[in-house]
């Protein structure tokens, strides 16, 4: 799915990530942890090609990121569902429209399946907020809506940047179980979180690996997690 070889990334000369050698195999479940400001969001942005490694090799779905043109990027992003840390909604569309936006822009000739949409909104606890505008949502509700949008196209890879950052423990578990379900269906998951409890809970249900960013390097965390 995602492959990094000897890759590094720096923001205008400031090194953020170095010596990255990483492979996300199809169907795998990875957590990503690390201190605030360590580069978790940056690594995720590399994975959906919002950023590009400064040096080294990176492949997304077997495609070299440097060889991609804009349309390639669009096609790749349709296969990746992303929960952005800052959610990224269109503020003039309501929740349902925002959640179904990926179907809308995919230029597929398919109708949006209302039952599926209601199911999904129900799962993330937003069934009552179908008509709400993004500005009317709480932080946790925004994250849940973002997760619904990320999975609506049933993408091959799901990247979630702290999707449980603003929700209570019960809802966090609920969102996690949605991701675990999707992983069992064969989807690849990359999930950034600070929440060690969440990681422990997940590890009881799936074979999840934990990546940690430490001193600008991505390392596999030990079994203590």
């Amino acid at each position: 799915m995602i492959e990094l070889k000897n890759a590094a990334f720096s923001y205008g000369g400031r090194d953020i990530l170095m010596d990255m050698d990483l492979r996300l195999a199809p169907g795998s479940f990875h957590f990503l942890t690390g201190p605030s400001g360590s580069g978790k969001t940056t690594l995720m942005k590399l994975c959906y090609k919002a950023l590009q490694p400064t040096t080294g090799l990176m492949r997304i779905f077997e495609q070299d990121v440097r060889a991609m043109d804009r349309d390639d990027v669009a096609r790749v992003r349709r296969r990746i569902g992303v929960v952005h840390q800052d959610c990224q909604f269109l503020d003039h569309l309501n929740v349902a429209e925002n959640v179904t936006l990926p179907v809308q822009v995919s230029e597929r000739d398919e109708e949006i399946d209302e039952a599926h949409l209601m199911d999904l909104l129900g799962w993330v606890g937003l069934a009552d907020h179908y008509d709400a505008m993004p500005a009317e949502l709480s932080g946790g509700e925004r994250q849940r809506a973002a997760l619904a949008r990320a999975v609506i196209m049933s993408p091959d890879l799901i990247i979630a940047d702290e999707p449980t950052g603003n929700v209570d423990w019960e809802m966090a578990q609920r969102l996690l179980s949605l991701l675990i379900e999707l992983n069992k269906m064969g989807k690849t998951i990359l999930l950034a979180t600070h929440d060690l409890n969440l990681i422990r809970t997940a590890k009881q249900q799936v074979a999840a690996r934990v990546l940690r960013i430490q001193d600008h390097r991505v390392v596999l965390a030990g079994a203590d997690l």
Partner: protein
């Protein structure tokens, strides 16, 4: 060259896809207004061009088929020279009839200039011979040569001298009308380009979000193009219809077809202004499309 099917598809376009771009009331109204105003002007430029065209054609047709031979000769030779001229004219190809104008007729022609009490008999007035030409007309140069040989006092006036500048002026006005239409189309394209550009620039965040979830640039561009094309079409339609109504109620052409009163459309020409709204749509389509791809290319 013009992708009409794409434009047709735009009008059928799905409403939902339209909504991904937030409505922008001001640029919307600006575009409609501009298209409407430009369409209004185009109708008048078109009417002017067509009217001058008609006028030039008529002058050409009426004047081309008549000419005059003027004979100035001493009293004694007038009859002989007239006879000689008529002879020449009768044996010239391209002349239907030729006849000497009577005193009364000549008096009537001169009356506006000299008044009704003109003492024709005592004045050395030249004799006029009215020549009606066939559609092809004679070869005026060789006719002149023969006339000067047979009747030294005869001068052929084929009216080109004063016809030519009139027809030229009419042609020039028609050209300016057409040029105005092109300029109007150009300004419309320019204004719609500016409006589209500002709409795209104002929606940078929307474009970012759409790209993040996998929208191709053509999809984003199409959402903008559709809006501007539909607005330009609607604006132009209103402008055209208003201008057509205004043209219809212009004073009708007088018998003599004086220029100003002849401004307007005749018969099938009434259909021509109806081409303006589709043309405006095509202009808007390309202006927005080019602007959109230019802005999208620049926006990382």
């Amino acid at each position: 060259m013009v992708d009409v099917s794409g434009i047709v598809a735009l009008f059928q376009g799905d409403r939902q896809a339209d909504r991904v771009v937030p409505p922008s009331g001001f640029t919307a109204r600006l575009t409609s207004f501009t298209a409407g105003a430009m369409a209004f002007l185009t109708v008048f430029a078109l009417a002017l061009s067509l009217a001058t065209g008609r006028l030039a054609d008529r002058w050409n047709a009426e004047l081309a088929r008549t000419s005059t031979v003027r004979i100035s000769a001493p009293e004694g030779q007038m009859a002989a020279q007239s006879e000689a001229v008529l002879n020449v004219l009768r044996t010239t190809q391209g002349i239907k009839t030729a006849r000497v104008m009577g005193d009364k007729e000549q008096r009537k022609l001169l009356e506006p200039w000299f008044g009704p009490d003109l003492p024709l008999d005592s004045l050395p007035i030249p004799r006029l011979i009215e020549v009606i030409e066939t559609d092809d007309g004679p070869d005026n140069e060789s006719l002149r040569l023969r006339l000067s040989a047979e009747a030294p006092g005869a001068v052929l006036d084929d009216h080109t001298r004063w016809r030519r500048p009139l027809v030229q002026a009419a042609g020039r006005i028609r050209l300016m009308g057409l040029l105005s239409i092109l300029l109007i189309a150009g300004s419309t394209a320019a204004m719609i380009t500016l409006a589209a550009q500002s709409a795209l620039a104002a929606n940078g965040q929307v474009i970012t979000v759409l790209r993040l979830i996998g929208a191709r640039d053509v999809y984003i561009a199409r959402a903008f193009v559709r809006r501007f094309t539909v607005r330009a079409f609607m604006g132009a339609l209103v402008g055209t219809l208003l201008a057509m109504v205004a043209t219809y109620f212009l004073p009708a052409a007088a018998e003599e077809g004086a220029f100003l009163t002849g401004l307007g459309f005749r018969g099938a020409h009434w259909l021509l202004p109806l081409l303006i709204p589709p043309m405006a749509a095509i202009v808007a389509f390309w202006a927005t499309r080019l602007a959109a791809f230019r802005v999208l290319k620049r926006l990382m």
